[in-house]
Subunit: 455 residues, 2 copies
Amino acid sequence: MEDSHGMDKDERIEGSKNELLDELKEFLGMPSVSARAGDEGSFRGCAEWVLSKLEEAGAEARLMETDGHPVVYAEIGAGDSTLLSYGHYDVQPPEPLELWESDPFVPEVRDGVLFARGVADDKGDVMARIQALRLYTQEHGPLPFKLKFLIEGEEEVGSPSLPAFVRQNEELLSADACLWEGSMKDDAGRPMIFCGTKGMLYIELRARGASHDLHSMYGGIAPNPAWRLVQALRTIKDENGEITLDGLEELVSPPSKEDLEAIEKILFNETALRASWGVDSFDRGLTGREALKEMLLRPTANIAGIESGYTGPGSKTIVPSEAFVKMDFRLVAGQSPGPVLDLLREHLARRGFSDVEVVDLHGVEAAKTPVDSPLVRTAVDTWREVGASEAVVYPTIGGSGPTSLVATELGIPTIMTGAVANVESRIHAPNESARLDDYFESIGYFARFFERFAN
Amino acid sequence: MEDSHGMDKDERIEGSKNELLDELKEFLGMPSVSARAGDEGSFRGCAEWVLSKLEEAGAEARLMETDGHPVVYAEIGAGDSTLLSYGHYDVQPPEPLELWESDPFVPEVRDGVLFARGVADDKGDVMARIQALRLYTQEHGPLPFKLKFLIEGEEEVGSPSLPAFVRQNEELLSADACLWEGSMKDDAGRPMIFCGTKGMLYIELRARGASHDLHSMYGGIAPNPAWRLVQALRTIKDENGEITLDGLEELVSPPSKEDLEAIEKILFNETALRASWGVDSFDRGLTGREALKEMLLRPTANIAGIESGYTGPGSKTIVPSEAFVKMDFRLVAGQSPGPVLDLLREHLARRGFSDVEVVDLHGVEAAKTPVDSPLVRTAVDTWREVGASEAVVYPTIGGSGPTSLVATELGIPTIMTGAVANVESRIHAPNESARLDDYFESIGYFARFFERFAN
């Protein structure tokens, strides 16, 4: 019965690929870059477009206002159980533009791969779920369970409005399970299922020198804010690259036995990962299982950007007046962003860096759902059914998101499953891409998942 | 006789201030930024304009080609002695533009102060000397000594063509003394006379990570070039800000007894200097004579600029693929840029940073003329004559220039004297300025200096 339904759906997808793709391209053509100030009108237009697509699929949808960009909320179906689907319609900034081979907001297919900002994170995933729902309802009518969509517009700037939204709409969002965004195949083409996310603290360190740039003849006596940042940063990692932030290690909750077992089952193709990055070795020479555990189970102290002084062509001999560094600390269970921010401020003050301003840009809690939960089993079984390679279960993912709002605060088992992106998708980077085959497979997967969830 | 000449000239200046100022403004309106590639045509136009001004003053002038921007060369007068005047018609980039209160290339007078890129470094100085010459020749006819002008167009990018030019035109440039660019009053309004310059090595350190920016979920294992630079930089200065570049100290030639005596006579208003910068203390808490000696007698390792990753508004969570830092090392007598570059490369290689590329952008030798030379006495006596405060003699200056080509290679006693700029002139920075009174005084000074030099 399910097999035949599945087959029908695959045929339906096969017969309407052009229309499905055109619809995705239309979505990708909207430059919904949440890190950019202003441009509210066109941003709202993107939200309304998503809403219209949910309505076409039969859902009752509405825009819900926040202090920032609106949330698209929708409901469809009725039954004993409820599934919440989370995604986002905003995207990362496309810069540096000169590294894109085609316009980031003019989707282009090259050799079966679709290039556009947001295709892998997260518009492809959002669109695949809506199209799967439409295929289901066109064939079967209303869902025999309640499906709720929460599609926000600020994920790429740390979801500043989402905590209040979730807390104010706890009843509306109540569910038995949640499919979070994050839709990925590994380098061997196996769907990845993630059961948790890292937390994150995103900050800027700012140092100031003279009130204006000085001629560098004064380089021996003028305060140099770029050097000041280097001096502050050297206290955060030692000369071997190990994090030395006072008290950070003490906050780490050790991973569970089941988590460690799941990690042991992950086939980690480190050679392919390094090749996709074009590097010969990982940071600090990490290899194999050691590198995988570092990525999934350990906090980070990443420099995402740094700038000071003259950075144009040629030479300009100045002592800069300002310097800043943008850093994200990825946090594991036990490390909340608030306390880590306090640790950082105390750490710097203790070493005489009270002049270095610590700007709190945002924080996200870590989240975890047990790897042996029924939701994870449904996801694994659905992948087995659609004929894909065996899915690989990850207890956590190196990335972050506001997953903890749902997984921890609302207590809803939450996972990421889907297959739109892959390890070469260049998420957050120029030439972001997704394979068309994976995209269409994901539509079929979600349709099957809805069937399984109903039973 | 000299006094009456001088008085005539001061009256002449008094009566033609508007014309003199308009001529300077026309010069300042030409955006001759040598750090910018291209735009050769308008650059040549600036050189031709300078040439025409020299011709108006009675000199035989010509453009002399180099591999870069042309040199303006001129000669006038005849006699037993020869004076060479060096200046440059190029300027520093005006960036950051948003910090200028008026257009850097639309000169504006506010409260007796003229604001424009290049007014203090070095167009004001160049123009004052040409106008002084014109005043002299209009009144007295040809000079009774030979005056040579060498005005180049690449000083702000390290004078890459000047070494070859000077070496190929050794005979043409031969002189008994040289007035170098550098025209400055101290914070008490006293003219400063500089008898030497620091050398400089300007480099970029470049680090590379993955072939593209990565999602910072990989922050724990991806090579991060920004962190790599921090790790390299921490080996160049210790945690107290002291330079720790292997072997640099061993190259320093100790200053002479006369130099040290001259430094003891300098009145160093450190409070005013800090106030002009808007800072409470110098780097490393240096104060008084200690700070002055650091500035004049010690090498520096300055970060002039650094950039990596995302530096726009909001937060972008990436591991950057590239990072670079621009550094200038100001060098004292004994430290040639070539050997210091070798030291730097060896220093980094010895510590495992062979992956960090060291890009040699340019080098300049240090230069020194004895503080008790006849040329210095002439400059001091001329200032006394024009009624300015006692001039202050500096054995060296914190800044650099290709002074060594003339002072060392050609063996010509070389000093800097003039009074166009002051400690608030913001040389190389936004809102560069010069006081109109100082400018007109400098014209009178140079006219008197020519008279003294003739006798």
